[in-house]
Subunit: 138 residues, 2 copies
């Protein structure tokens, strides 16, 4: 497996008032703004059935993250001991994929408005998944 | 953004008794087995600080999924109306990333044992993230 490589092709882009990475909140519940996800024309079929009110997980590619970092101070706090990125939520990691659980607020063709999301303007979106209900209601 | 591409480099591989994709459960709580995640040698630093008992989200690359599918019958059930993949959890999607919330059961160097996970043997792992506690305990 070490020599395998896979290609990520963005399906949408984040359109957000957040432009400054340093000022961005670390998590959505720490003051992130609403945003639009602007989908590629070829992705309209994949949006079919998505509804206002749905809870979804948005997967982003954190394109400004450092992929070579293996250990960090959690939350950038140097008072906390350095540790491996897999036991943190640091954006710096070998494959910098962000997970954002949001609610769909509006849908306008290929533009989808979502609740608080901690991703800066221009961040590529790579996937959207419905949040599952309990077994039996799926 | 449409022309951007990003390269995913697997960090580990799933070692599981699940080998038959057709027989695999669709979700972990539908009868999936425990498995080992076998990390690449270069990833040991990134595992530092991970502990038995931690809840983590494992991200996989569903390498056998069809990336050209845009609409599916949810859960493969033809009685259910076809809909866009973004409002389902189908493995068939433009970027076939799987999300698996599991508990760490054991750690043996670069081998990490995790609770029920619905990924077949040989599935590439692309990331591991700690599940966050409430704001204030992070």
């Amino acid at each position: 497996m070490p020599d395998d490589r896979f290609e990520i092709r963005p399906v949408a882009t984040v359109e957000s008032p957040l432009t400054d990475l340093a000022a961005a909140p670390k998590q959505a519940d720490e003051g992130a703004p609403e945003a639009w996800l602007v989908f590629e024309p070829g992705m309209l079929d994949a949006l079919d059935g998505l509804r206002v009110g749905d809870r979804v997980v948005v997967l982003t590619w954190l394109h400004r993250a450092d992929r070579d970092v293996r250990r960090v101070h959690p939350r950038g706090d140097e008072a906390r001991p350095i540790q491996g990125v897999f036991s943190t939520r640091s954006p710096a990691r070998p494959n910098p994929i962000g997970l954002h659980e949001v609610r769909v607020l509006a849908i306008d063709g290929g533009r989808v408005r979502v609740s608080a999301i901690e991703a800066v303007h221009g961040t590529p979106v790579v996937d959207v998944k419905l949040v599952l209900r309990e077994v039996g209601e799926r």
